[in-house]
Symmetry: D2
Subunit: 230 residues, 4 copies
């Protein structure tokens, strides 16, 4: 069984590598973050985070007490996710951005597609499939260090302005151990493992499309300025 | 607002009075319980209890972080309900009944209808509507004392054989205070209150139809015996 | 396979016999219909009929093109059911009753439970299960002749005032042949047949509880009058 | 009201223009189609088409008889879409491709996301929102002429091998007029119009991401060959 967790780890690492080669991360490495790009990013983070408790609860609906550990995990994890979107809005306000505008903004089609995909996984597949999303999400902090570094370096954000990422990351160390235990206990057949892995890969890939779309939108709004400069 | 909780209390009392006048409760008072009637009852209790965590989770799906207290309540309550059905099976086994048979039994149409009604409330109405069900369920122990007395008196059950009702009732004192607080906080418009009250009345009424159907099935299986006697 | 259709036929006949022994039908035979009882009945008929197209469409959601005949049946039948509730409102208006009042009325818990049960069947079971409901509904006209006779005899209704039942019954002769063909083609395993039969029995039983609850409500409103008389 | 249909037309034209600038269409114009690219495309077309009847039926679930024309449209359109996926498999078989392989293939994350997005629109928004998808889908034949030309020119396909696109396009002329009428009749408030337009834009944008992902996958499998050549 340890082998399956290793396959998950490899799939997550592979997905992040792919993201690193995309326009958002390449820009992050070369140029860093400015306020507009950061607000654009956090706006999308808000719009998918605000559904996480709900789609985690949805995944529990077809789990019965014959898998009471999985049922309890789904419901407890849903409970713990509730309100995390409010941390994103707090962080936006902490830099003087208008959180109401962010909350009301029409999110990118990539974000809508991501949210819809997670809901569809939760509704139509076994509850173990959504663990593929939790797997990389609860362990992402080692993979997004460059992003957090840029937030501190380029925008001078303090930990108190990064509650979503920082406070979250401490909690998620425990969460991730729980995810590993649950995956280890309940993803016990090749079919269940294949679905979990597919969702891990699918959600991380779609997450990457959000990052790149955030970058593309930011670049599009700056194009006239650049044109003027050149 | 205290008035609305009083209206809920009155509606619950009225619903129980109605149940007391029905065939099940009348039989309970006149003749008490025998093992067959008790097993028949617990079988149905199992078949609706095993959906309570799930339909409570379902109610959370359309609650956002703008009502984060309600969202957290729904998810935490769902978590706490998870596995309570296993207590019913334990109690059946504790008197030598076959819990597998009970779990596999086709439940009464009244039980299926009750379960379907709660799911439909959770799916199509605001999450506050399902609080009407929680209201009487979490405070039922004062209303079903005659039933618990009969379980002890007629079937000589110990507390260790009544884990669902006894252990549950201790926990539910706190649960009920939570329900009252949540109802008080979130059922704030006449429309929301009307829905909560409608679901309180509807679910308690349908619960009564289950009890009477349990009695009718029990009576039907005994009819030949009675016919032989007379 | 003919045997399964025969079992359905027997189950439907048995369900109707049960209804005939209940308070509504006994009253119908002894005393006939008055306007209040008829309006009370039609109000509930409206409140379950208005969901039939929708729950039939719901049953199609998990049928793929590997059973394209079943998929097409579900969707075509849903299409044909659309708007039938309007015929009920028309018939109420044709006798001077206020169809708006009927449409806004809170329906009986038995009606809500029936509707919820059909939705839950459509959502959680195979699409063939809901055929058990269609089976008796589309062939009910031979079984409810006494009701239609009483509508003509006691309330002097013409066919133009009974569009829901009369026009419907002509269409349903063809519908019923379709239902039989679809049941014959797709209820091909013991498991599928058991579910269809369970839903046939369950929905017809719950339909009976609606009729008896209509009668009980009518009787309750008349009780004071009777008390005055005696 | 004509203005809103004009806005839809502009939005569709704009969406197609965007698709024309992407890698798939640019390749189509410069190099045309080969068999692998065509099979890759049709495999994804199959995997989103096979859900169209179902998600159209889903959109009908919360439409009542107060908008009976919209209800009938949704159900009739769902009925007409049923089985169209089988035409895609037929067309694949007609060129000697293995339709079983295509049907079993894991579809691209972009396709899964598109399907999930349409289901989520159908489930959570008013039924008029999904009309935005129908609007461009039922009128796409004028916009994809270059694709059909390439199928005939590069792959020598006859109309009998292009049943999905050709037969479909004849039927869809009438469908499109229906869509326009329904949009005109039911998208009557700024809010409903905004949702329909958002879904038109969102689904067409996501459709473009499928095309480009089909191209990217095709290009990736050819990369080693090209490397060998150079």
């Amino acid at each position: 069984m340890k082998t399956f967790l290793e396959r998950c780890e490899r799939a997550a690492a592979h997905g992040w590598q792919r993201i690193y080669t995309g326009p958002f991360w390449q820009h992050l490495r070369k140029t860093g973050l400015d306020r507009e790009l950061y607000v654009g990013l956090m706006t999308e983070v808000y719009h998918f985070t605000r559904h996480n408790a709900q789609n985690q609860a949805l995944a529990a609906l077809r789990v019965g007490s014959d898998r009471v550990g999985l049922l309890r995990y789904c419901l407890h994890h849903a409970f713990e996710e509730a309100g995390h979107d409010l941390m994103v809005l707090h962080d936006l306000r902490s830099i003087g951005a208008d959180s109401e505008t962010a909350a009301r903004a029409r999110s990118l089609p990539e974000t809508e597609a991501f949210v819809a995909y997670v809901f569809r996984v939760a509704q139509t597949r076994d509850a173990t499939a959504r663990l593929g999303y939790s797997y990389w999400a609860e362990s992402c902090y080692t993979h997004i260090r460059e992003l957090l570094d840029a937030m501190r370096r380029d925008l001078h954000l303090t930990d108190a302005q990064m509650t979503f990422f920082v406070a979250h990351s401490e909690v998620d160390r425990d969460h991730f151990r729980e995810v590993e235990t649950i995956v280890d206990t309940y993803c016990t057949t090749p079919e269940l493992q294949a679905e979990t892995l597919e969702v891990l890969e699918g959600t991380l890939y779609l997450q990457g499309t959000i990052l790149d779309a955030v970058h593309a939108r930011w670049a599009a709004t700056r194009a006239p300025v650049l044109a003027t400069v050149s």
